[in-house]
Symmetry: C2
């Protein structure tokens, strides 16, 4: 094929949602894959580009098995041409017989493709930089060259009966017409997926939605998205991409990757369970998230961030008095996520000056003491006063309550269980 | 006023962007405050609701001064009715004479309002739950009661010459007509701001944009937004709120707050500097972010998350060979944030099996050795081979390079500086 035929302007053929029957389904609902998405876990590719990552073969296999058990649809591995051991590890993981499909990630070059197809992978992810920055400072090629290389590599990989994805790199700083042209070209020759990558983490949610919706009108294959988290939008961008019609999201455990990483597996699950609870709960083993995060955190020697969605130490801790009151009455008042869906527990933090009498009443009940509401309010005032002076722990609060109780004219008839040391929500009748 | 007059259906008066002259400015651009936003830092209110937070007076003052120096527009403090010390601390911070305006945050109740106006604050933030959850399980009041209380509190605070914000709580699970009605009512009686709060962290970016855009057509006062981060969208939601016409965003240092917190100050700065670089750089002292985060992290006894935007230990670390190559040629290829804007440095991680010869060449130059490109490629292959066997550090790589150099038939004429231990990017002529 001549180069001029490979690249044809496609703008005139774009059929945007504005052409849809206005009395038909809402275009947004029609395009959305929020209820029908797939996960490509890239902990063993993007994650290997995290500063601290060094996975030996045994650790890679352990992580791959854990991800497979969790239910990810694809597992992406480092290019077999990165190093000799990378190639051997790729072959070893392909032989495990996992349910998840195994992918490897290569440059858009026949040298890489020839090695990749021999490893036993189910699919090859091809990437090439299309932004003016990458074309100038990385590979130095123009769009015609990129398209020509892409066609050659794609047809070769397809001829081996292996899945193929073609992705641009730095898609959000690439020329829109160039992008749509090359995606249309590779879609026509039958790629399984095209990929949009926010390689530098610059994209914002509404921009993502618009680009995906436009691309969706140009290609018939699935769309995969890859979002870096430099500006903190990687989860939100993934969500908006699904709303716009993308089908697959690249994730990694704890989001590890180049710089501060990509869309995290756990964080995306928190987002998606709110939007598509039945789909998410039926497809993925959510209670395994904590174990998988601990496995990877230990391997790359980081701590779980204190504010991590789901597994951060305080993700289900309620502190302010008015919050604690409502949570005790109905957890949905201040929780969009149910900790039990993730094998976690809720905790009412009552030992502090922001506490309220409802939280203290719950503790009084746990301690099996009889106090009237007015008495609970009185002891709560004492606790808040002490909390003004210094940080309190559960023992401090219990001592104040017990002292108060002992000092009452009419002591309780019930025996006091002094051994109770459970967090408030654990035993209360109010907790789900 | 009778209750029936307080609450009037306002849907018929909403003038949505579809009524705007189609040849006029893009409604999105017209509404956007991306280039004109303000920050309300709530580290000393929302942040005090973080599980680990106990700030004594001295620490509160230190944090308030640091935030003021950074340039936040408002500093929000815990309610003076939360505890006796909370009231005293509020008064003490009001007396500091900071540039930032001081706010306190109270329930929509005259008991609270009477205390708040005596503390010396510049403004009072009033909040009440409007979702069916909070109306049922928290305060048990209906919308008429809420509107009546709001009007009483607002008129009282205004009569004292103090700024007033009225916010709903759990806005995204509240009835839209109820919400618009009460906001229209309080706007008419002259509040300075209305607030939208995603109290449970359930909102998604396009939903935020739509709600703010609708609200913008109903009220003439400023709109403030407060986003919890349970599903990882707090930064993105803040950005989309500004696009939709909100003017003020609630943040806290490291995002500390109830559960896993709210929009983080640093993360939002990362997002905003990409969208509005001149505005952000001229208004806020970005190089202070690291110090402020360290101050608060130490006070609440947490570590800076490894993947924190800007200040995470690897936020500006580049590892993969193709990334390092392009970064050395032009940092913009793989960086949307310039580390120097934040007083940070870039680091090229070259001691690993994913390294490329461009990164190693940069290290060879630092070591002041003379190697041809072919020689650098040869030694890079040796380094990648060693990197397959075990994690490498800089000393390992330097030893391999120096051994290789010593073994050459034509040794370099330049003297070798054996003391150099700097990260690759620090000295190279390529770094900005």
């Amino acid at each position: 094929m001549s180069e001029s035929k490979d690249i044809q302007k496609v703008t005139e053929t774009i059929t945007g949602p504005h052409q849809v029957n206005p009395y038909g389904p809402n275009p947004g609902d029609f395009l959305s894959n929020v209820n029908n998405f797939q996960l490509i876990d890239s902990t063993l590719r993007e994650g290997e580009q995290f500063a601290n990552a060094f996975f030996d073969t045994e650790k890679k296999i352990e992580i791959a098995k854990a991800l497979d058990d969790f239910g990810v649809d694809y597992i992406e591995l480092t290019s077999p041409v990165a190093s000799e051991q990378s190639r051997k590890d790729c072959e070893a993981i392909c032989k495990l017989g996992l349910k998840a499909k195994i992918l490897t990630h290569i440059r858009c070059h026949m040298d890489d493709a020839r090695v990749a197809v021999e490893t036993g992978v189910d699919g090859v992810d091809v990437v090439i930089g299309t932004s003016k920055f990458l074309r100038q400072y990385s590979h130095g090629k123009d769009m015609n060259y990129i398209a020509k290389s892409a066609v050659e590599v794609i047809e070769f990989v397809k001829s081996k009966g292996i899945e193929i994805r073609f992705s641009s790199e730095d898609s959000f700083r690439s020329d829109l017409v160039d992008l749509l042209n090359i995606y249309k070209t590779v879609d026509k020759i039958g790629v399984n997926r095209v990929g949009i990558a926010d390689t530098v983490g610059c994209a914002n949610p509404r921009q993502v939605y618009e680009l995906i919706r436009t691309l969706k009108s140009v290609v018939s294959c699935d769309i995969e998205c890859h979002f870096h988290n430099d500006t903190g939008c990687a989860i939100a961008n993934a969500y908006c991409a699904l709303e716009g019609g993308a089908r697959l999201i690249d994730v990694s455990v704890l989001g590890i990757g180049e710089r501060n990483g990509i869309t995290p597996l756990g964080g995306l699950m928190a987002r998606m369970i709110v939007a598509a609870p039945e789909y998410v709960k039926s497809k993925y083993k959510l209670h395994k998230i904590r174990d998988i995060e601990n496995l990877v955190a230990e391997a790359v020697e980081v701590n779980i961030p204190f504010n991590n969605p789901i597994t951060g130490f305080c993700a289900f801790t309620h502190k302010a008095g008015i919050h604690a009151k409502a949570i005790l009455a109905n957890p949905s008042t201040y929780e969009i996520l149910d900790p039990h869906d993730f094998g976690m527990k809720r905790y009412i933090h009552f030992a502090n000056r922001l506490t309220g009498w409802n939280a203290i009443k719950s503790r009084v009940d746990q301690l099996n003491l009889n106090l009237t509401d007015d008495q609970v309010k009185e002891v709560t005032a004492k606790i808040k006063k002490m909390g003004d002076i210094r940080p309190l722990n559960i023992d401090d609060v219990d001592s104040i309550i017990k002292d108060f109780h002992t000092g009452l004219a009419t002591p309780a008839i019930k025996p006091v269980d002094l051994t109770t040391e459970e967090p408030a929500a654990k035993k209360t009748k109010y907790s789900k």
